[in-house]
């Protein structure tokens, strides 16, 4: 009896030590992310008047949503994310499947596909300018084929070079994730299905895609996050006020920030966070329905 209580005491003590390990990280996250975000939420429902932060309910949200600049920014961001993310997922999966076949030089190709990760953003921007400028390489090709020049960054086509840049930067990373998942696929299952006379398409959609679904989910979320990071490049390419088609949510928020309009900025931040949580939740639910019988 006595030994048991000593052991229990020991357990409690060890558990306590273990929990204190979390303390540094937890207090940091609390101080630097969670608490200030609570303040942001508070800002988003109070008036801009500094003398008395009166409660204004959803007024700030209404102003933000009715603001034309915000609507344009939200539309552009959505358009960009909904083109770039699916493309990044599908193309990366395609590449991973291609690289599954027995061809030489696979590891070299993997290195090449990952190389965009190490290029400094500024020089990416430089190279993209050389290619997509009005007098750039691409327009040169277009004129050679008798087509009209397009001012890529200053037209409704503005998002195309950015989508391409996004794909260039992210395909390698996504591809690695898919390759790892394909490697862990139970080979016997596919072989059995093939013995039973299943076609290639059946194998792909009914077996592979299902087993890939957790990875698909993660790659989608990751690409979504990275699609927000492309703002860095757009910002360096075009500055605070780009052409209409490239005016993103982040531009809106940065400009609010410069204008010291914290109320609107906070409302926009809360909206964005809410949208992210919603999207992530939807993706998680989709995945759990689609891939439920393969959880292992």
């Amino acid at each position: 009896m006595k030994t048991k209580s000593v052991r229990a005491k020991y357990e409690v003590r060890e558990k306590l030590t273990c929990n204190t390990f979390l303390l540094a990280s937890f207090s940091g996250v609390l101080l630097f992310y969670i608490l200030p975000f609570c303040v942001v939420m508070y800002y988003s429902v109070t008036s801009a008047d500094i003398s008395n932060h009166s409660f204004v309910g959803l007024d700030n949200f209404k102003t933000v949503i009715n603001n034309n600049a915000f609507r344009l920014a939200a539309k552009n961001t959505l358009t960009f994310s909904f083109t770039a993310v699916p493309l990044a997922v599908i193309l990366a999966l395609g590449l991973a499947l291609l690289l599954e076949s027995k061809i030489p030089g696979k590891s070299m190709m993997r290195t090449f596909f990952l190389s965009p990760m190490m290029v400094p953003i500024a020089s990416i921007v430089l190279v993209w300018q050389v290619i997509f400028d009005f007098n750039g390489t691409l327009n040169q090709f277009l004129t050679q084929w008798g087509l009209d020049k397009i001012d890529w960054f200053k037209s409704e086509y503005g998002q195309i070079p950015i989508v391409l840049m996004f794909l260039w930067k992210n395909l390698g990373y996504n591809m690695i994730l898919f390759m790892a998942a394909l490697n862990n696929m139970p080979r016997e299952l596919i072989e059995e299905a093939q013995v039973d006379g299943a076609g290639r398409l059946y194998c792909f959609f009914k077996i592979k895609v299902r087993y890939l679904s957790p990875t698909l989910l993660f790659v989608t979320i990751l690409s979504l996050i990275n699609s927000f990071k492309i703002f860095r490049e757009v910002y360096l390419l075009t500055g605070d006020y780009p052409f209409e088609s490239l005016y993103l949510l982040q531009h809106y928020m940065n400009n609010m920030f410069s204008a010291l309009d914290y109320q609107k900025l906070s409302a926009a931040a809360v909206l964005m966070a809410g949208a992210m949580v919603l999207i992530i939740a939807i993706l998680f639910i989709c995945e759990s329905i689609f891939g439920k019988d393969v959880e292992g």
Binding site: F26, Y33, A122, I176, L177, P214, T215, L217, I221
Partner: protein
Amino acid sequence: MKKKIRWVGRALVFLICISFAFVFLMPTVLTITNSFMEKSEIAANYGIIFSSLSSGSKTFVSEEVNLKFIPDKVSFSQYKTALIMSPDYLLKFWNSVILVVPIVLGQLLVACFAAYSFTRYRGRFKEILFFFYIILMLMPYQVTLVPNFLVSQWLGVYNTRWAVILPGIFAPFAVFLLTKFMRRIPFSLIEAAKLDGAGEFQIFRQVCIPMCRSALYSVAILVFIDYWNMVEQPLILLENVDLHPLSIFLSKINSTEAGLAFAVATVYMLPTLFMFLHGEEYLVEGITYSGSVKG
């Protein structure tokens, strides 16, 4: 016959993959090779895009832009300008180092302990907390922009390097990834150490950390690459331009001195290039482990 078709198919796949791979490598190669061009050559090739390159001088500017990979004459003049003639670049490079190295080391140190704690004694509270970390990790920077700004003002570190370093140290990414790694350590190993009378700290130091060495390296590479290219944080938290890292400063010379920009970019690429070539396996491993949100 069938064998032949398969062989042709394989060759086709190879061709597709290799051409894609070269397209992906191209901008990197372009940056490096163009850094060895002389100023006049850069002006001749790209003068039509960056008009300020050739203004004032009587250099030849071709009517069309010339995307050229191999310099006519290999020259180190751009490097000489960047590294010896103008100390500005080295200073900014140092700024980058002094911002990024503490973030990487700090984030790893904090994350090691936190990840261990998340791995052992998993209660409901901790599971919820871990989920919070994931959500936080997935937030776009613009959402944390105001929080970061507010905290830096509360703490009185706004416009000092700490304003960038401190939030960086407590960013949840490394915690998430290391927890993934540590949860794969066989439980029996920890139990065995415990039976030998090891306390939690001892288990952490003598069992867990040695087993996570490659994981630590891969997390370090991923965090380093991310912060080495940061743009938003310094723009918002560092009003003083003298403290800005090279990643921001570099973009300012793009249009005025493209040649120099290539050389400086190549220098800036060196640390990542080194990490990349030295630890590609770890990098791939790190990416692979980041791939499963659950588990």
